[in-house]
Symmetry: C2
Subunit: 604 residues, 2 copies
């Protein structure tokens, strides 16, 4: 979501902040801003609506200092604008604050504490910095106490970075639910919402826990719990290669990441399947899964769709019932659970706030859990009992591609390992390693035929305002993800639909020329889906068929390699990723940074 | 879906056919046609694209006869047009056929049997009548044998009504999966796909079973099984008051049916709750539910949405886990079931082919089942172990309204009866009768404030091309139905979304002026949904809030009465029904007969 950076004790503060914000830009980019203080009486606040490059142009050569904070924003409260950009300032001009998260009770705070204050923005964040100002200037508290008091008043999620102009040798830091790390340097320290932003400065980070507050100076990190008691915690070392974050010769990250999928699949096979065919999973994880009577997969967005595909894979291979739940729903409306539930969290970033909120709850109830994530030492990884890494390399494009196929791959291998551990007679029905090899080769074939798909994107999606993907069974789950991909980046109002359900209402939207793409990889229902294709054709729809080789007929436009049906989304999704990519370019949009969207969603 | 009528032995054949088709018109109306034979060497075929009124204008005074068949069509294969309209004719002009359903192997039949035939339409039906022609004229079979042979070749669903010009004293009838009834008259007989069409002629009907064939003459009904063995079956008596089918003073059925909801709720309370607070359900049904370890609700369209609301109601009140499944998906991809499943089928018409296909399968496996339907003696009702009627009166408008609230009402009372029977300590936490009384009164208040809602429909939906409904928990399930209603009749591309999930992708579709309606009835998540409303407002959305009284704030546009949270869709859905209704009229469409849609969907 939003990104936060801070640094203290470095001469090139401004440059470090701007470079850090650039790395975080893909997380959210309605607006950005920095505050820099030279610890000698001069300070600078620069904020701009739009991209980091616009902020960079607005920063003059005079903006230099020994400490500073910065922020890139994804609007939650108040429209994107200069005035709503962070850092926010208290009325007297003494306090500067950047914030990730959402303050739930900002209305109440305004009414109870800020009657005399003139709020200039429409953000919840300004309420926080004004509250601190009032507590210090009217309430007579020192800054540390006022900060702690403000935290006790605020109800919500936050990562805060606060500067007091009168104490410019300190950064005041606090965290609840939103991710925040303190990076340890030699004679300097940094703060950031993602290690990515500061990995050029240091690779050693201290994680903060919810409710903690920190005072950071250039050579000290003073960590405190909610009551103000000092806490000690060792830093951990991050393995991140800055070159992973480069686009190379690709025009866009999204295309690079689509192309990386065969390599990711092969890497996962090497990682989790040993030469002798046994599996490289923590035996305790397999034991815990064996004991469960039902698995609950919790996720959001594309990860949720990977979970939906995981359900039939795991049910078919490992013979255990699976429920797949939207994180934002499950947190507040947990259904009746089974006696021995096991929770699986899917999150590319490992920071999804909606999922984390469920994990906190299931941890409280003592349920075992596993996180499948692409980011080592991410919050969901640290807080779950087990972690499996997706090994996909950093996914920078906002629209997730390789993380989706990686999640399905890990679900598949894990299901097979579980089947073997349970001694199921069916355990060897499916040669998972062979199938995943076929999938990797299959994806390669599809990405090699990019030109044809670019042509089809032009024909079907370049000028439409809406579109449908339909399918049955496993093809339905793939259709949901295909539609989301198209939606996210091309702004076409696409919907994924169960092919048989369309006629129960939504078919009224089909008119002359409406594009309807059908995914057909399931022998059992192929003729029924083709029947539904006929239905929409009869109403004028332009139909595009994505069909596996063994079921192909004359006139089908995209033929994909045949896999075991339940694994087909590994290949069927790839043409739809490319269709979304090309349609977006044809429509003239930036495919890596769709409007309104942020990479890792760290608010609820 | 499509409607079929036939009559033999009456002088006013043409009028009976046309009146019958009018009654069926709401089932599908791309095109219509009749064939009439005077049994004295003259016959007439009239087909027209469009509504029945267009067919009526095309029928001249000379079109009179003693037997005939008619059809109103909802296109599945081939666009709506005169040539694709039924009845279809064999090449020599001897055989006439009307058909409901879908022939899966029509391509194969064409290639194998019809090489020498010039097909004039692009329908699957024509293949059937040409096949019969070939079997008689080239194969030397008599008509009855040829019909039986054709049925054995055809793979798919069908209700067939066949005429042989050379035997005009007979109607040849057959059925598989698509509904078909034979009505018994005095000196005449009729055939129809829905009793509604012929209730003015007779109230006594013989139901046909899958695979059966019938030869109907004016005074005999010869029923045969697949092997040609004669079968006897008594007719049943239908209770249908023709005046229920009138619009009265209402401009449209949809508005009439929205307004009837308080009366339906009260009727259901009287029907299923006795004066002394006990429940009027078959004790065997309650016993069967008590024995189940998990309930599976199977449905499609609006009924599916009523099932989604039923899940938390039943789980909360009766403490039994519930899964809700799309009928078209469940039939082919049944997940791992619990040890003692109990199936509940929701279908307004009781004829939904997708649901019926699942019921056939669960019957085969011996699982107990209940159908909640509005239509007595409908297929799903006859074939399930138990039936509960919705008592909503005929629902004529294609977009379902009162059946939705009726389904939720019956689910609620049934859940409470089950809780009492199980002796749950929580059984009396919720005064269901009182809550349903509140709901009936609450709906009355809402429908009484139609003018305000008409105004809001104009402001938000009269000119938009897309829209969103959002909510959390129970409000999410209501949002899905609210969006479907808007979609079905107004052709606005509306989507229902979990409020917290929107930001995981779909929020990229929000632009300046996009209407987003939020339903807020749940205290626990109200502030979070309001946060999501802020998020979309920050991106330019025009927001409409539908909020229960106890959670209302200044600026909320539609305030609805407060119910127990889990029951809130009974009232929260009503303003959304009215918004859809008015927006459709403002956009200039026929709200009762949306394009492409049919009332009861009798194909898969």
């Amino acid at each position: 979501m939003c990104g936060i950076v801070g640094v203290i004790g470095k001469k090139d503060t401004t440059e470090i902040l701007l470079k850090g914000l650039e790395k975080l830009e893909y997380r959210g980019y309605d607006s950005a801003g920095i505050y820099v203080n030279d610890q000698a009486g001069h300070d600078y606040l620069v904020k701009e609506k739009g991209k980091i490059s616009q902020l960079e142009s607005a920063v003059g050569p005079e903006v230099q200092g020994m400490m500073g904070i910065g922020h890139t924003r994804w609007a939650t409260h108040g429209a994107p604008s200069d005035v709503n950009a962070h850092p926010h300032v208290s009325q007297s001009g003494r306090f500067y604050l950047v914030h990730n998260g959402v303050i739930n009770n900002y209305q109440e705070i305004k009414e109870q504490y800020l009657k005399g204050v003139n709020l200039v923005s429409s953000t919840d964040t300004e309420v926080a910095v004004q509250l601190i100002g009032v507590l210090v200037e009217d309430g007579g508290l020192d800054t540390e106490s006022a900060f702690r008091k403000a935290l006790s008043i605020i109800d919500g999620s936050y990562a805060f970075l606060l500067v007091d102009r009168e104490e410019p040798d300190k950064l005041f830091v606090a965290k609840n639910k939103s991710p925040l790390l303190v990076g340890v340097g030699d004679g300097f320290n940094v703060v950031c919402s993602d290690a990515l932003a500061m990995v050029a400065q240091t690779k050693d980070f201290v994680e903060l826990h919810d409710g903690e507050m920190v005072i950071v100076t250039k050579d000290k990190i003073q960590l405190m719990d909610e009551q103000g008691n000092e806490v000690t915690r060792k830093p951990y070392h991050v393995n991140l290669d800055p070159s992973d974050i480069s686009k190379g010769t690709y025009p866009y990250y999204m295309l690079k990441e689509i192309d990386e999928q065969p390599a990711v699949l092969r890497r996962l096979v090497q990682e989790y399947i040993n030469e002798d065919g046994t599996f490289n999973f923590d035996p305790k994880l397999i034991d815990a899964l064996k004991e469960a009577d039902r698995l609950y997969i919790v996720a959001a967005g594309t990860s949720y769709h990977a979970g939906l595909v995981g359900k039939p894979i795991i049910e078919q291979i490992a013979q255990i019932p699976v429920e797949v739940e939207l994180a934002s729903e499950f947190g507040y409306h947990m259904p009746l659970l089974s006696k021995k539930p096991f929770f699986i969290y899917l999150s590319q970033s490992g920071e999804t706030a909606d999922s984390r909120q469920v994990l906190v709850e299931t941890n409280k109830r003592g349920f075992p859990s596993l996180t499948l994530t692409n980011v080592e030492a991410s919050t969901l990884s640290r807080e779950a009992d087990f972690t499996l890494l997706l090994k996909a390399g950093p996914e920078i494009a906002v629209a997730s591609t390789k993380a989706y196929t990686a999640q399905i791959t890990v679900e598949t291998i894990l299901a097979q390992a579980l089947a073997v551990a349970k001694g199921l007679p069916s355990a060897n029905d499916l040669d998972v390693k062979h199938q995943l090899g076929l999938a990797a080769n299959g994806i390669q074939t599809i990405v090699d035929s990019k030109d044809d798909i670019e042509q089809l994107a032009h024909e079907f999606f370049a000028n439409t305002r809406n579109a449908f993907y339909i399918g049955r069974g496993i093809d339905y789950w793939a259709s949901l993800e295909a539609a989301l991909k198209l939606k996210e980046v091309s702004y076409i109002q696409a919907e994924g639909f169960a092919a048989g359900e369309l006629k129960h209402g939504t078919i009224s939207l089909i008119e002359e020329g409406t594009p309807v793409a059908a995914i057909i990889t399931d022998k059992e229902t192929a003729s029924h889906t083709r029947g539904n294709v006929q239905e929409v054709q009869a109403r004028g729809a332009k139909t595009l068929k994505i069909v596996s080789e063994d079921l192909a007929q004359a006139g089908d436009q995209i033929i994909i390699p045949t896999l075991e049906t339940v694994l087909s989304p590994l290949v069927s999704i790839v043409p739809t990723q490319l269709l979304a990519y090309y349609a977006t370019l044809q429509r003239g949009y930036n495919v890596d940074q769709p409007r309104n969207l942020a990479k890792s969603v760290t608010v609820e």
